[in-house]
Amino acid sequence: MRDTHPILAASDEAFWQAQEKRKVGALGQPCCTQSKMSWAMIDMPGDFAVVIHGESDCLNCFHHHNGRNAARYFSTRLTEAQITTGETQAPLRHLLQMIADQLEPDTVIVLGTCPVEVIGDRFEVVVDAVSKESGIPMIALHTSGLKLSTLNAMQDWLHSTLAGLPQLPAPASSERRLSLFGMPERNAIGPRTRTILEQAGIVIHGIYPHTAGLDGWRSVSHATASVVVDADASPRLVEAIERQGSPVHEIPLPIGVQQSVAALETIGDALGIPSELKSAMAEDRADASRRVAAFSASHPSPRIGMAIRMLNTFRSDQLAHDGLGDLPFLLECGFDVTIFIQGPPEEAPRFEETLRGMGVLCPVRVFPGPFQLVEHFQAEGLGLAYAPDSTLNLFRRAGIPSIPSRVFAPWLEGVTHNLAQLERLIHEEGAP
């Protein structure tokens, strides 16, 4: 944030020094847990309601237009008088009772907001009472924007809460049932990958978080084994799944050949059928490896900048590995990657240390905000960009071809499509 200009007061220096001290080297963006949980659940299939306990405008920090459950979202719409006098229990009780009586959902999730957290509202007491009276599971979460939680922590909290819901009765089954957590929203398991898994005798039980729905979360315990992308970032979820009785194994985000093979091998080991799965994927693995090698040979070390820590998202695949889930694929394709991290430039050494700790050896640059990203790319002489879609206009204007973050398709079957996207990027007008 620091800069030098006559209008900058000298006393600001101390302010910015203190400001930077409170920043940690973690790569994640801070988030409002209410906002992101609301966002994450609005398109989740299932018969449930979400109550946002606060003022009306707290309903507006997530999309209203992309979700099948928008009509099941409510706000206690607290007035100024109710907030300032602390009389927040009556409207919450009244609303929960109406939801229970009129909608009879399977579950109700009540989210806190900054105004009710500031006044110390213990709304879980009301939620528990109405839940008992109605017999409908109701969960109170003290979410808000006050804690500046990381996106990963938010996601872990939400997913562990959902995985901890009372479970549906398990069907009698001797199948090898697999649950996958942290998968991309689109094409999480394509037809070819499904065939590979089926050939090895695996039944896909659930794909989380975007596809499974409420009933999927209420049957976490039914899986023979569960695999979790970037499990280190989801300790509470891992614990919740294990508590429900399904053993957990970590996999990388299955983008590109190396990560897809590693994920499939882990699945094979987890279900006790390593050779079956190796055999089922052999042909696809060979084909994908050949294609990557051919791409790499025809494009020797193209330079690309990868911008991270810019997304405020609820999408698990975008959060996995601190936004670096696609990096191994770019590297195996032969790209020379420079990583750009949005944050205070003075914190560059700490960010770099964090990345090195993750085994990432690429050069690291830190930039303060989206509007300065392009000039940092230009200063490095970079002609290709991997960045969030909210910055693509900036790159377009600068004549730098760019590809939006996390558009690569997963698994071995995604490799052909992903390479085609990279081909288009390299051959786009303006590319070096």
Binding site: I7, L8, S56, E80, I83, G145, N393
Partner: protein, 460 residues
């Protein structure tokens, strides 16, 4: 109210609505409409999304997030006093972005701490090279249109509304809702300029129309001030800010009759030659009707739903009626732009008769809309829906089986208003004026259907 003295309501009151967006979103839209303004939000981290979440979906031409920032307030800051954060952020962002104006907002949970942010901002603003406006954006009252009007007021206050304007034949628009830099709004403004040119007037600089602040501050030189309905949330204050200049209030220039009415009202206020105005209107009405003639019979009797704020809903209802359709379901968004009364008055002024069976929902919840859609589809009484992406999203949750329409294509879906997710204008696509009628008719003709089976939609 469900009990004496209790501030309790029915379930619909608490549900997410067709328009639940609040003041902060409106302020963000206002900031977006000034390409060299900057919005600094003294808010919590989630509040940032109120400013950008829908705007980023809506405007693909300019990303609103690059001219907005926040002061990174957390719980620790609330305890220690968060207002001290404001000044360093103000200085830093102004130094970095050189905005023409710095707009600022705070939110309820910070205001609860009772700090004198106003004073902190005022003192810091003295040393800045640009004006600063701290705007109210409480989350418990007002709607998106209130927030937008707040920015509009901040700008009209800064215009020199000279009592003796130099450009007598020029018209300035106060209260244009400019929410994106795509070719619908640029076409609206360009088309209005041409229409005014047709009656001997011209469109001058107008606040919040996607032009730099310095340019729009020249609005005071225009001879005629036209007040569009989006001033309504703060009409008295905005009128007062005109410094004694009179203004002429109009509805939106939409539909054939609505556009002609608008031109007559503005022309009369500006002293345009009435016979020239009439002749121009007659020519344009005829050419517009000629363009549409071959389509009219195909649509006759289509029962349509419109979900929009009252001024836009009225313009669309008039337009659809002129196209031979029946606007039978109207959902009026928000509270600050009026309701049923204002809607009906605007439609009546166009001489358009609404069908007897019209239902008007005021500020409906998404749940109520869904129920209404299902009921109408079950009784085969809904051929099309015009609404925002939020409204149309509700329809996408209805399966053909639930609506009793298995095998049907379902109603036409046409995105209008804010936010749009799928409708983006890369070529001139106005919704104002005579050209707006033709363009919207074209959009309806080629609109997608809820369940596109590829069958002839007129088949059972």
């Amino acid at each position: 109210m469900t009990g004496p003295g209790a501030d309790l309501h029915d379930l619909a009151h608490y549900a997410l609505g067709s328009m639940s967006l609040g003041r902060l979103t409106g302020v963000s839209l206002g900031n977006h409409a000034i390409p060299d303004a900057f919005l600094l939000m003294h808010v919590g981290v989630g509040c940032k999304n109120k400013a950008t979440a829908h705007l980023l979906s809506h405007d693909w031409a300019e990303h609103g997030n690059v001219r907005e920032a926040w002061t990174e307030v957390g719980d620790r800051d609330l305890i220690l006093g968060s207002s001290t954060r404001a000044a360093p952020y103000m200085r830093s962002w102004v130094n970095r972005m050189h905005p023409s104006i710095l707009l600022m907002v705070s939110v309820t949970f910070i205001d609860l701490a009772g700090e004198d942010l106003k004073d902190v901002v005022a003192r810091a603003a003295k040393d800045l090279p640009c004006p600063v406006a701290l705007l109210p954006a409480p989350g418990f009252s007002g709607d998106m249109y209130t927030g937008y009007a707040t920015v509009l007021h901040a700008i009209t206050q800064r215009v020199d509304w000279t009592p003796d304007p130099a450009r007598a034949s020029e018209v300035t628009l106060v209260g244009y809702l400019f929410d994106r830099y795509e070719a619908d709004h640029s076409a609206n403004l360009s088309h209005l300029g041409k229409l005014l040119g047709g009656i001997g007037l011209s469109l001058g600089p107008s606040p919040l129309t996607g032009r730099p602040l310095a340019e729009t501050l020249g609005a005071g030189g225009a001879g005629t001030v036209v007040e569009l309905p989006y001033t309504r949330p703060l009409a008295k204050r905005i009128r007062k800010s005109l410094g004694g200049r009179s203004s002429v209030e109009t509805d939106l220039p939409m539909g054939i009759a609505g556009t002609s009415r608008w031109l007559r009202v503005v022309g009369a206020a500006a002293g345009a030659d009435a016979s020239r105005t009439d002749a121009f209107i007659a020519r344009r009405e005829e050419s517009t009707r000629n363009q549409l003639r071959f389509l009219m019979d195909r649509w006759r009797g289509f029962r349509m739903a419109i979900f929009a704020e009252p001024p836009l809903a009225a313009g669309m209802a008039s337009m659809l009626a002129e196209l031979g359709m029946l606007p039978t379901l109207i959902g009026l968004k928000g509270t600050s732009l009026g309701g049923r009364e204002e809607f009906l008055a605007a439609v009546k002024s166009d001489g358009v008769a609404l069908p007897d069976e019209v239902t008007i929902l005021e500020n409906p919840s998404l749940a109520a809309m869904r129920e209404e859609f299902v009921t109408r589809m079950r009784s085969r009484a809904l051929e099309g829906v015009l609404g925002s992406a939020t409204d149309l999203n509700v329809l996408t949750t209805i399966a053909a089986e639930e609506a009793g329409l298995e095998g049907s294509t379902g109603p036409l879906l046409i995105e209008i208003g804010f936010p749009c997710r799928d409708h983006h204008a890369i070529q001139p696509m106005p919704f104002f004026g005579y050209s707006g009628v033709v363009v919207q008719a074209q959009r309806i003709t080629s609109a997608r259907r809820l369940w596109d089976t590829g069958r002839d939609p007129l088949l059972p």
